[in-house]
Amino acid sequence: MKTFVVTGLAILPALLASSAMAADTINAAGATFPAPIYQKWFGEYKAAHPEVQINYQPIGSGGGIRQLIAGTVDFGASDMPMKDGQMGDMKVKPLHFPTVMGAVVLSYNIPNVTAILKLTPDVIAGIYLGNVKSWDDAKIKAANPGVNLPSKAIEVVHRSDGSGTSFCFTDYLSKISPEWKSKVGVNDSVQWPLGLGGKGSDGVEGLIKQTPYSIGYVELIYAVQNKMSFADVQNASGSFVTPSFKSVSEAAANSKEMPDDFRVSITNAPGKASYPISTFTWLLVPSHIADPARKKAITGFLGWMLTTGQKDAEGLSYAQLPKAVVTKVQKQIAQIQ
């Protein structure tokens, strides 16, 4: 009887060892928001370079950062830049490579209102702080003359799961509202002052569609694909801008000077045509890769992604990087030792 137990235990490590020695693929993990384009890129790049097999797991930005710090992936991906504290924990410093851009839009469901709403920063912060409670609030009316707004309570919807989308939105709110900054702050999940939480973009969409007089935030791509109505937002220059690839690219182009490590927020960017709730998404690559074959494969992919790869962006509803940013990012590839 004992023999059986011992044999069983002896087989286990053998099985584990054989799986660890499996093929030499590059492993990456992280953000879900850019996952569709990453999958397409890795597939296309493998078709052109059969020796490079990149395996991407969309487990979330936080998960991607954790796995990168733990050293279980070759590179990570995130919708938010890494914090100083997180980078300080690492022996090999990671480099941030912007890949594409996206926007967060405010989607709403007000029965019998077909006009596209215009929202000011003051109103958006007011709604999410609970200061603006009703759709016929004087501040909303002032920005939307001629729209017959009902006297109904605003049902606020937010993401319940940790998300780069929430990070971008709370980053924007913190910039436009000192009250938000001190009371709530910026993170991929925060303590929301009020409202209902939906799991994932589809959860938020479900709540907005099922709840009359509601408002919530989702990624631009998601709102477009699901034919949700979304608001024009007043930017830092005072003009109301419709979210689109173009107005997102404008925000990146007009954003204040790009820092050398690309850890930059482009929310509330200046410029008449900039959409204010926009963000980059990043690949997080270690600045030192010991294995020369891996280093060659990863740098090769990064170079390809910044040129040929960018053309895939708009087909999948992401905004391309502005030319100036691409030139600057290309220089960073050389920093990988």
Binding site: M1, F4, V5, G8, I59, G60, S61, G62, G63, I65, R66, Q86, A153, E155, S160, D161, G162, S163, V184, G185, V186, N187, D188, S189, V190, Q191, W192, G195, L196, G197, G198, K199, G203, G206, L207, Q210, T211
Partner: protein, 319 residues
């Protein structure tokens, strides 16, 4: 004789390795694996929750603060949400499920009983995310437009039924959990009722009892253990259910008096926040929530066992 002595060791080998010994080994291995997995699970949860346990101590259980920005975490709103939604689910599902099981096993014509039982088992096999979708598109509007306003108009003076009606919230989560758990109650209770010996019924009828009297006085007490078992099975499912609940509860980590208000459960917050949680305190707080859920399940199961012991003392049948 010569052949038999040669065959003897072979026979012995056959008995040893073809039958009892092998079966004993393997079944023992399987049984031990349950223990190993449980111990390993608790150990892992304990180890990985150590930063949160160190930082918050027992205050974790009594704090209502859940703020990932300032790294302050407390479990109370989630414990409250988990307990209240499961209690609501049982409140609805137990009378419904036991009633249906009695009808199916005792009163219904066999043909109808077979068809309905098949449907019930089908219902028990539906994945929970499907129930969640059903809830978003059908249950939430029904609750918001009809049930909750009706409840409020009658009981509105009580804090439980006052306040703003969202459609999502504790009550809606309780209702979807009831819908998900009552097939288990029906299925297991029906089996228990069917297992009651025929003589039990016949004896009651022979003493002049009506059909219902025989069911209520002779059959139900006999099947009580099985019925209780079905309730605890349902409760276990309700406590740990994740997907369907997170889709309808509103995911708000605060404690609200009103059943119409949004809330949160332990399983739902782990599913929602685990993938994106960065930082040791945050992650280990989520793991500690898992530990709390485990403990909660243990406590409730313990109370259940106690209940069984207390009721069988006076009861008429032993398992």
């Amino acid at each position: 004789m010569a052949t038999s002595s040669a065959a003897h060791p072979a026979k012995l080998a056959k008995r040893r390795f073809g039958g009892d010994e092998v079966a004993y080994c393997f079944t023992l291995l399987f049984a031990v694996s349950i223990l190993v997995i449980t111990v390993f699970l608790v150990w892992e949860l304990w180890v990985h929750s150590s930063p949160a346990r160190g930082k918050f101590g027992l205050g974790f259980l009594t704090s209502s603060l859940w703020n990932p920005v300032t790294d302050q975490f407390g479990a109370l709103p989630f414990i409250y949400g988990t307990v209240i939604t499961s209690a609501l689910a049982l409140l609805i599902a137990v009378p419904l499920g036991v009633g249906a099981a009695i009808y199916l096993s005792e009163l219904a014509p066999p043909r109808l009983s077979n068809t309905l039982t098949f449907l019930v088992e089908l219902l028990a096999a539906v994945p929970s995310v499907i129930f969640g979708l059903l809830a978003i598109f059908t249950l939430i509007p029904l609750m918001r437009e009809y049930f909750e306003p009706a409840l409020q108009s009658v009981f509105g003076s009580l804090p439980l039924f006052s306040g703003h009606i969202y459609g999502v919230g504790y009550l809606t989560a309780g209702v979807i959990l009831a819908i998900m758990t009552f097939p288990f109650i029906i299925s297991v209770s029906r089996e228990a009722l069917m297992a009651v010996p025929r003589e039990q019924r016949e004896a009651a009828l022979a003493l002049g009892a009506t059909k219902w009297e025989s069911t209520y006085d002779a059959v139900l007490p006999f099947a009580r253990l099985g019925i209780l078992g079905s309730v605890f099975l349902a409760l276990a499912r309700a406590l740990g259910e994740t997907m369907a609940v997170t889709m309808v509860i509103g995911n708000d980590p605060k404690i609200h008096a009103s059943l119409f208000a949004p809330g949160y459960t332990i399983a739902a917050v782990i599913a929602n926040e685990f993938t994106e949680a960065s930082g040791d305190t945050y992650l280990s707080s989520l793991v500690e929530l898992g530990l709390v859920l485990f403990a909660l399940t243990m406590i409730i199961n313990g109370l259940a066992q106690l209940l069984i012991v207390l009721t069988t003392k006076k009861g008429s049948a032993k398992a």
